[in-house]
C-alpha cells in the first residue's frame, strides 16, 4: 500500500557544479496526496532539487522516478508533459502576454492543435481555444484573478503576478506541483492568501480543470507557513538530507536547529 502512494521519488541524487557539491546523495519520496516542504539554509540545495526534477539540471548520479518511470535524461518539456508543473522563485511570467494568455500558455501541452489550423483560426483552432479558455476561466475563478483578465502581466502587482504564475502551473493539470518560494517578497495578507490557495489546491473538489489534486512540493523560507501547511517536512543542509518528519518533529530536531542556528549553546 505504502509503495503505491509514492508519485515521485528521488534516489541517491548527486549533483555538482565543478567543485561545488550541490546535492550529495539525497533520497526523497513524495506521496501523491501530501504537501511536502523542503527547508534549509541558503545554498542547501532546495532549488537544485526542484531543478533536477523539472529537468534543468542533470544529476551526475542517482535516479528520479515519476510514477515509476525514470525521468533523468528527459527534456524539460517532456517532463512537463508528464505532469510536473512548477513556479519560479523569481517570477518567470511572459511579460508580453495578458493574464489569460499566460494561463492559456500553461495549457500548451493539452492543446491538440497544429500550427496550420492556427493560420485558419476558424474551425478546429477556435474550438480548442474556446475549450481551453473555459478551463482557464475556472482557474482564474479559483485564484480570484478575474479583475486582471486582459491586463498585461507586466503591469500587475507582485502578489498578483505570483498568483498568475501559480495559475499557469495549475493550468497544466499537474500530478506534481513544485512551488519555489511562493511567498517570497509578499506582505502578510498576500502570504495568507497564498497559503490558503496552496491548501485549497489540495483540498478543493476539482471537477472541472484538475481531475486529481496534485502532490505539492513547497520550497519556502517562511517557517510559519511551512509549519502551518506542510504535512511533511524535509530539511536539507549542504546538499544532504538532515531530517525528515512532521512539522512538529522537525521543529524539535537538533540537526535542524544546528543547521539554522549554528553550533553554539543558546
Amino acid at each position: 500500500m505504502q509503495e503505491n502512494r509514492v508519485i515521485l521519488s528521488l534516489e541517491d541524487i548527486y549533483l555538482s557544479f565543478g567543485g561545488v557539491q550541490a546535492l550529495a546523495g539525497v533520497n526523497i519520496d513524495i506521496k501523491k496526496d501530501e504537501i511536502l516542504a523542503l527547508i534549509g539554509p541558503n545554498g542547501s540545495g532546495k532549488t537544485s532539487i526542484l531543478n533536477s526534477i523539472s529537468g534543468f539540471y542533470r544529476p551526475q548520479k542517482g535516479n528520479i522516478y515519476l510514477k515509476g518511470k525514470r525521468i533523468n535524461n528527459i527534456k524539460p518539456s517532456k517532463i512537463a508533459a508528464m505532469g510536473v508543473a512548477r513556479t519560479f522563485q523569481n517570477l518567470a511570467l511572459y511579460r508580453g502576454l495578458s493574464t489569460v494568455d499566460n494561463i492559456l500558455s500553461g495549457r500548451h501541452i493539452m492543446m491538440k492543435q497544429s500550427f496550420l489550423s492556427g493560420f485558419l483560426y476558424f474551425g478546429p483552432a477556435l474550438k480548442t481555444e474556446v475549450e481551453h479558455r473555459r478551463q482557464v476561466e475556472y482557474i482564474m475563478d479559483f485564484l480570484e484573478l478575474e479583475p486582471y483578465r486582459h491586463q498585461h502581466v507586466g503591469v500587475l502587482p507582485y502578489g498578483v503576478r505570483k498568483r498568475v504564475e501559480l495559475g499557469r502551473a495549475l493550468a497544466m493539470e499537474p500530478k506534481v506541483l513544485l512551488l519555489d518560494e511562493p511567498m517570497a517578497g509578499m506582505n502578510m495578507e498576500e502570504k495568507e492568501d497564498m497559503a490558503r490557495y496552496v491548501l485549497d489546491i489540495r483540498e478543493a473538489k476539482w471537477e472541472t480543470v484538475i481531475k486529481e489534486s496534485p502532490a505539492i512540493v513547497l520550497v519556502e523560507h517562511e517557517m510559519d507557513v511551512v509549519m502551518g501547511i506542510a504535512e511533511r517536512v524535509v530539511a536539507l543542509d549542504w546538499g544532504k538530507k538532515i531530517a525528515e518528519g512532521t512539522p512538529d518533529e522537525i521543529k524539535n530536531n537538533q540537526a535542524v536547529i544546528k543547521a539554522y542556528l549554528g553550533e553554539e549553546e543558546y
Binding site: 511572459y94 500558455s105 500548451h108 477556435l126
Partner: protein, 352 residues
Amino acid sequence: MKGRPCGVFDVRYSQDRAILRTKTHWALFILFLIFLFTIPIFLKGHLLSLGIIIGTTMIAMFGAQVMVGYTMQITLGHAGFVGFGAYVSALLTHHLGWNFFFALPMAGLGAALYGLIIGTSTVRCKGLYMVIPTISAHFIFFYLVNEVFKKWTFGSEGIQCATPVLFGFAFNTDFRYFYLVAILTVIMGLAAKNLVRTKTGRAFVAIRDNDIAAEVMGIDIYRYKLLAFAIGNFYAGIGGALWAHYVTYINTEFFPILDTVYYVAFLIVGGLGSIMGAVFAAIFWRVLGEGVNYVAPILDNIMAGTGGNIVSSMGLITFAVVTMLFLIFEPRGIAHRWELFKQSYRLHPFNY
C-alpha cells in the same frame, strides 16, 4: 452587438477572443477593404507601383515579425530569404515553365526549407547572437545563386521572371497586379494574426519572454524556434516571389545586405511583437524611401557642388536617423501608439 466597445460584455469565449467585436469594427473593416480595392482607381502610375512594392514588402515583413518580434530570433538574413523565394519561383517558371500560381507556394516552401536548414544551427543561439549565423544565410544565398547554380540562375546576369497568368488572365499591368498583391497581403496578414493569437503564437511569445519558463511549461523550444524560423521564411519567400514577378527581372543585386538591416530596423520603427507593427513598418519604410527618392535630386540640384553624393547617401542617412529617433522617443514603435489609441477608444466616452 453594439456600436461602441465600451460596455460590451462577452457572453461567449469566442467573442472574448475575437478581433472584430462591434458593429463599428465590422463597418471599419469593410470600409478598409473597399478603400484597399479602390486604390488603383485613384492612384496611378508610380504611386500605384509603390503600393505594390509596399504589399510585397509587407508580406516579407510579416515573416520578419514572426521571427524577430514574436520569437526574438533577430534575423539579418531576411533579404537573402526573400531572394531565395524569388529565385525558386523564377527558376520554376523560367526553366520548367510552371505557372506562377504553382510556383508561388513552392517559393514559400523553398524559402522555408532553406530557413529550416539554416535554422537547425541558428536556433541554438539566442537573441542578438543569432545575428551572425543569419548573416551567413544571406551570403550562402549569394553564393548559391552566383556560383553553385550559375548554370540555371545565369549568375549576375540575372533571370527573367514571367508575368503571372491565371486562366489566360495576365497580371501584366500595375492595375491588375495590385489586386493580386492586395488580396494575398490581406490573406497572409490575417493568417499571421491568427497564428499569433493561437497556441503557436503564445508559444512563440513564451519563448521570447522567458525561454526557461517556456520549456518547463512544456513548450519544446527547439521545435518552436525552428517553426518560427520556417514560417517567417515562408512569408519572406512569398513576398520575394511576388516582388520578382512584378519587376520581371531579378539578380542578386536586388537583395542587398542593407535590406536585411532595414527589415529589422523598420520593424523597430513599426513596433515589435504585433502584426500591425509589420504593416506600419512596411508602409513607413517604402513611403520614406519614396520620399527620399523624390527629395534627394531636388537637394542635389540646390547644392550642386556635392557631385551626386546627396542622392547616394540621403537614403542611408534618413533611415538611420529615423530609426535612432524612434529608438530614443518611441522604442515600442508606431504599433504602440496604435495600441494606446485603441485602448482609449475602448473606454470611450470615459477617461479611464
